[in-house]
Symmetry: C2
Subunit: 376 residues, 2 copies
C-alpha cells in the first residue's frame, strides 16, 4: 500500500522543493498540473503531455458528473484508465464551476441545485455528493466542496461565504472515504481579508486534511492583492502539507507565488492560449496570428526543445492559425505546456541550488525584453 506523503527536501527562503507520493505515483513540486477538465488535456495526446514533464493532471467534478457521469467513469474502470493517465490525478470539487457555468443555480446550507449548461437537466451538488463523485472518479487528490467567494466582496459577504465553505469542509471531512495513497485537500477562503483567511486556516487545521487549496484568488483582485494575501496567510498553514494555489496562473504569478511558499498550480492558460494563438516564450507572449510572423523562418522560441520549436517556423505556425488548421492549436498548446513545465523545472532546480532569486530575476529580465524583432 502507498501512503500519501509530501516530502520537502529543499528550501530557498519561503520556497519549498518537494515530492508528493500518491496511490498512482509521485509528482515533484513546485508543480504545474496538466488541465484535463473533461478527462482530456485539450488538443494533446497524454504521451505528449507526459513528455513535457507534467506528472499530475486535474479533472473537474462538475464537467464529469454531467458527462459522461461519475458512475459511468467508475464502471469503465476510473479516470486513470478512461483517459489513459496512469499517474496522479486531482479533481476539483465542482464548487467553482457550478457557480460560473450552470443555469438557475440555488445555493443554500445543504449545497447547490442547478441546471446543466449542456442540456438543462436538474442536478444537485452537496459536500457529500462531491466526495462521492470524486471517489467514483478515483481521484488521488480530492478537493473539498466550497463556495468560491466572488470578487469584490465586502468583509461581511466574504465572512459568510467562507464560513459556509468551512461548514461544508467539515462535512467533506466526514464524507471522504480514506484510502491509502488518496488525499483530501481543504480549501482556504476569506477573499483578501487577512483575518478571514486566518479564521479559515484555523478551521481547516481542525480537520484531517492532507493539503491546502488556496481558493478565491485570481478572480480579479490583481496580482498585488494576491501576493499580499499569500504573504499573510501561507505562514499560517501547517508547514508539512502541500499548498495549492487554485486556478493560477500567468508565468509571473507562478514565480511570485513559489517565492511565497506555494507548491502546486493549475490554470487553463497554456492550453486555452494555445488554441487562440497566444504563445509563451522566455521573452514574453506573442500572438502567432499577427502578420509580423508570416515570413519568419525562426522558431517560436529558439531555446525550447518542443516539437513546435524544433520542426517548424513561426511562418508555418502563422499559416496554420490563419487557415484554422487543427495542427496550429495542437503545436502551440504543446509548446505552451512545455514552456510552463520548463518554467517549473527551472523553479525546482533553482530552489535546490538556492538560486531562486537569481532565477526569478532572469525570468523577469527575459519577459521584460519582449519578443524578438520581426524580420525586415
Amino acid at each position: 500500500m502507498t501512503t500519501f506523503t509530501f516530502d520537502i527536501f529543499g528550501t530557498d527562503k519561503k520556497a519549498r522543493r518537494g515530492r508528493v507520493t500518491t496511490a498512482h505515483g509521485t509528482f515533484e513540486t513546485p508543480c504545474f498540473m496538466a488541465t484535463a477538465t473533461s478527462a482530456t488535456v485539450k488538443g494533446m495526446f497524454p504521451d505528449d503531455v507526459r513528455a513535457t514533464g507534467a506528472q499530475l493532471a486535474i479533472c473537474n467534478t462538475y464537467h464529469l458528473m454531467l458527462r459522461p457521469t461519475a458512475e459511468r467513469v467508475a464502471q469503465l474502470g476510473g479516470l486513470h484508465k478512461f483517459m489513459d493517465w496512469p499517474g496522479p490525478i486531482v479533481t476539483d470539487s465542482g464548487g467553482f464551476q457550478v457557480m460560473s457555468l450552470s443555469k438557475l443555480r440555488t445555493l443554500n446550507e445543504n449545497g447547490v441545485t442547478f441546471r446543466s449548461h449542456l442540456d438543462g437537466t436538474a442536478h444537485e451538488l452537496t459536500p457529500e455528493r462531491s466526495m462521492q463523485i470524486q471517489n467514483l472518479l478515483d481521484s488521488d487528490i480530492t478537493m473539498c466542496f466550497d463556495e468560491c467567494t466572488p470578487h469584490p466582496a465586502t468583509h461581511e459577504q466574504a465572512a459568510q461565504s467562507m464560513r459556509l465553505s468551512m461548514r461544508w469542509a467539515e462535512r467533506c471531512n466526514k464524507a471522504f472515504v480514506r484510502r491509502d495513497g488518496y488525499a483530501l485537500f481543504g480549501i482556504n477562503q476569506g477573499s483578501t481579508y487577512p483575518d478571514l483567511r486566518l479564521e479559515s486556516a484555523e478551521a481547516l487545521a481542525q480537520l484531517d486534511i492532507d493539503g491546502y487549496g488556496i481558493g478565491g484568488l485570481a478572480v480579479g483582485e490583481g496580482q498585488e492583492a494576491m501576493f499580499a494575501t499569500l504573504e499573510s496567510i501561507v505562514p499560517a498553514y501547517k508547514a508539512e502539507k502541500p499548498r495549492y494555489l487554485m486556478g493560477v496562473g500567468r508565468p509571473d504569478d507562478i514565480v511570485g507565488a513559489v517565492l511565497r511558499g506555494v507548491d502546486m498550480f493549475d490554470c487553463v492558460m497554456p492550453t486555452r492560449s494555445g488554441r487562440t494563438g497566444q504563445g509563451f516564450t522566455r521573452r514574453g507572449t506573442l500572438n502567432i496570428k499577427n502578420a509580423r510572423h508570416q515570413d519568419d523562418m525562426r522558431p517560436l522560441d529558439e531555446t525550447c526543445a518542443c516539437l513546435a520549436c524544433t520542426r517548424y517556423s513561426r511562418a508555418y505556425l502563422h499559416h496554420l492559425f490563419r487557415g484554422e488548421e487543427m495542427l496550429g492549436p495542437m503545436l502551440l498548446t504543446l509548446h505552451n505546456v512545455q514552456y510552463y513545465q520548463d518554467l517549473m523545472r527551472g523553479l525546482r532546480e533553482s530552489i535546490e541550488s538556492h538560486k531562486l532569486d537569481d532565477f526569478a530575476a532572469a525570468f523577469h529580465e527575459g519577459q521584460a525584453r519582449g519578443d524578438i524583432d520581426p524580420v525586415s
Copy 2:
C-alpha cells in the same frame, strides 16, 4: 542525382506491385496518399502520419497559391521544409478546386480567372501558372492543369471539356521545368465515355509525361460506372507508368480499382470522417457519436495497432466527440489513416503473394459483417 522511376516488381492479374523513386525518396505502390491540402494533414503530426505507413503526401495548388502563396513557400525553403515532410509530395494542379471552391470564375481557352473563396481577391490560373506554382512549391509530382468534367455531361460536353484539358496538357508539358527526380503526370479525362477516354489517353501518349492521373471519376457516376471506365481505359495507358485515380475513395473503391490496375490514390475521406466521427474498421464503418458506444469498453477495432485502438475504449472516444474535444478528431483521424494504410499494406502484400483475390474476398466479407454487436 535521383531519376524519377517506377519499378514494377510484382503483378497479380491486372494489379501491380511497384516502387516510385523521386527527388525526395521512394514510395511503395499501390499507395494511398496523406491528404495535406493546405500543407498539413488535418489533425495529425507528420511523425504520426509517417508512422501509419504513409510515404507520399498530396498538397493543393489552389489552396496554397491563396495562402500562404507559392512565392512565400518558396522563400521559406519549399513545401517539404515548410510542413516538415521530407518525403515525396504530389501537388494537385488546382483545376478541380478552382471550379468547386472559388467565386465568379470564368473559364476560357487561356485558363480560369476567379475570386478567392477566402477574401474575394482576383486571381488567374493557367496551365503555365499552375506549373510555375507547383515548381515554387517544390512538388515531386506535378499534375497537369485540367478541367474536371462535371457529371453528368453529354458526350458533346465531355468531348469539349476533355479536348480543352488535352490542349492545356500540351501547354503544361511545355511549361514544366524538368528536373531530376521530379515528374509531370498527365490527367486522363472523357467522363464515362470510352471513346473519349481513349482519345484523351492517346493525346497524353504524345507528351513527355511520367504518369497518368485518372480524373473526372468519383464525381457522382457511381462505383459501377467508375469500375467500367477503369476497365475500358487502363489497358490503353503505357504499362510502365504509374496510374493515379484522383480523389478516390472509399475502401471498397480502392480495392476494386487496385484489381483493375490502379497504383495511386488520394481522398479526404479518412481525415474528414475522422473529424466528424465516422470510423473505418475491418467490419465496415461506425459513427462513434452513436449512444450505443457510450458504455463500450472495447476498442474501435481490436485488430488495429493504432493509438486510438490500443489505449482507449469506444466509450472514451464517444465521450470526446460528445464533448467536441479536439482529442476525439485527433484519435479518430489517426485511426482512419492507419486503417487506410493497413489496407494498402494488405493489398501490396497480397499482390506480391498472388493472393489478391483472396484478400479482396476477405475484405468484402469483413465489411459485410458490419460492426460488432453493442454491449448489452
